[in-house]
């Protein structure tokens, strides 16, 4: 597969540059907002996060979620914030290898657990099989839900490999009843919303990975 060389102008770099230019446009900005009332001082907590195999010592407001710790404190912006309420799946990461919504986990409660984000799954030169399958099948349009979809698919494949049942498994009593059918994949990916509606290609990409028998 031909791929374009890594771009030197990234979206994030462009946006950051845009922020620097913002003062020039200050004349259109509305009047300064009123100063908020003094809040009680937020307790901070120290925690050690193991992200993509690297240890990070952080002191955070106790209210900071894993999602915000990744994006705002560690610069790992691959994980996306969609609804921030556990409904859309855009923030899906792997916690000790299992897919979870990072928006509903306090970073402070995570000490000692290993987190894998989209940045830890593959590299531009060496894509994870699920990343490669999403590219091959166009499993996205705008791409915002894609990191969550891919992390979720990696988790789903591991669950299938372990023989975990789902709501569409015909007989949960039978450990052999679990098959990686399109129906099973759709049910297992229902925690990830795609506003562009790339679902058929996402299912096809995951089916491809199953068929190739590649490691999840």
């Amino acid at each position: 597969m031909d791929r374009e060389p890594p771009q030197t102008l990234t979206r994030r770099g462009f946006l950051a540059g845009g922020c620097v230019a913002a003062p020039a446009l200050a004349w259109v900005a509305p009047a300064a907002e009123p100063v908020p009332e003094a809040m009680p001082r937020a307790p901070t907590v120290s925690t050690v996060l193991m992200i993509n195999g690297r240890e990070h010592q952080l002191t955070l407001d106790a209210r900071v979620t894993l999602l915000d710790a990744l994006r705002e404190h560690l610069g790992l912006t691959g994980t996306k914030k969609g609804c921030d309420r556990g409904q859309c799946g855009a923030c899906t990461v792997l916690l000790d290898g299992r897919r979870v919504n990072s928006c509903l986990i306090l970073a402070a409660s995570l000490g000692g657990h290993a987190v894998t984000t989209i940045e830890g799954l593959g590299t531009t030169e060496n894509l994870h099989p699920v990343q490669a399958a999403f590219l091959a099948h166009d499993g996205f349009q705008c791409g915002y839900c894609t990191p969550g979809q891919i992390c979720s698919a990696v988790g789903a494949l591991a669950e299938l490999q372990a023989g975990d049942a789902s709501a569409v498994t015909t007989d949960v009593r039978d450990p052999r009843a679990v098959a990686a059918s399109a129906l099973e994949i759709r049910e297992r990916m229902s925690g990830n919303i795609c506003r562009c509606g790339a679902y058929p290609f996402i299912v096809a990409a995951i089916e491809d990975v199953v068929a190739a028998g590649k490691p999840a």
Binding site: P40, R99, N101, L104, E159, S166
Partner: protein, 328 residues
């Protein structure tokens, strides 16, 4: 989110000591609590992280039953070999709830305590909600109440309990084991959740500071004849309009015992005892099933938007009974 003190419990004794402080809230998986804290519905003064306590085991009990630790994740409970083989009804109910990501975090104890998804409760911009602001009124009674209760509701509250797990637990006669400072107690699941009455702010019989440590399942798992059937607005990842947990004990095709519990219809999982009793001794002929289905909604009363739930509940019970009996 309101500021809170954060502490980690070292052991159960430490947890119940910290949990006895006013305004304290235990944090297990956090999937419901953090959501409600972000919305300002829950405003704990202190959050006690219990997620590292050794309460995540599934263990056989001496009487042939099974103990699910309060911190067993929903996905682990659903897929434990002993749950799948001996209590498939419970496995099905777990798998019908939420999304895989949420099931990987949500705990058994937290599932028991999850709060209603009534939109007037979860959204602070609505002024009237007796559950959130006792005495303020109920906006759902004369508002959008399509998802709301048809059984056991009160003037004060028409909210429904959102749990799938709890519906199956009631059909299986589970017992909730609770610890508090200076003691412990067992609460049969049928007494754990409350009807709203005049105090809808209380979902359960749990007292402040009490900590759920396990859910115990008695031996009869109804593994041969059971069905959890959930009807919702989309195929997956949605709360129930109506669900039913049905379990049958059959002897030469005759019903010895039946369990019928409805979900999505009341402030607590709703056991249809009259319907259960009507089936004893029958061979589940179509007319027996229809009679039981009608009895299950005997006391139902519709609100302005949810009259459809009454015939829907009857059809869900009928189909779940037929599926459980294997006569589809």
């Amino acid at each position: 989110m309101q500021v809170f003190e954060f502490s980690k419990a070292r052991d159960v004794a430490h947890a119940v000591q910290l949990g006895a402080q006013p305004g304290a809230h235990y944090l297990g998986g956090g999937t419901n609590l953090l959501d409600l804290m972000k919305g300002g519905v829950e405003r704990p003064r202190s959050v006690i992280d219990i997620s590292e306590l050794p309460l995540a085991l599934v263990e056989p009990l001496p009487d042939g039953g099974l103990r699910l630790g309060a911190l067993v994740r929903n996905s682990d409970a659903a897929n434990h070999p002993l749950v799948r083989s001996r209590y498939p009804l419970l496995s099905q109910a777990f798998l019908a709830g939420a999304s895989p990501q949420l099931r990987n975090m949500a705990t058994v104890g937290g599932n028991l305590l999850q709060r209603t998804r009534c939109g007037y409760f979860t959204d602070l911009s609505f002024e009237r909600c007796n559950k959130r602001l006792p005495g303020s009124g109920c906006a759902a009674r004369d508002g959008n109440n399509r998802m709301h209760a048809i059984l056991g509701a009160s003037e004060a509250c028409v909210a429904t309990n959102p749990s799938d797990m709890s519906v199956a637990l009631l059909a299986l006669d589970a017992v909730v084991q609770v610890r508090r400072r200076n003691g412990a107690r067992s609460i049969p699941i049928g007494h754990f959740h409350r009807l709203p009455g005049t105090t809808p702010e209380r979902d359960t019989q749990l007292q402040p500071g009490e900590l759920i440590v396990s859910v115990d399942l008695p031996p009869p798992g109804f593994a041969q004849h059971c069905c959890y059937l959930k009807v919702r607005d989309r195929a997956s990842y949605a709360f129930a309009l109506v669900s039913a947990a049905v379990a049958l004990s059959l002897a030469s095709d005759e019903v010895r015992e039946a369990r019928i519990v409805l979900g999505g219809v009341a402030h607590k999982p709703w056991r249809a005892l009259e319907a259960e009793n009507s089936l004893r001794g029958t061979r589940l002929a179509p007319e027996d099933i229809q009679a039981a289905a009608r009895l299950a909604t005997h006391d139902a009363r519709a609100l302005s938007d949810n009259a459809f739930k009454i015939p829907l509940a009857q059809q869900v019970v009928a189909r779940a009974l037929a599926t459980a009996a294997g006569v589809t």
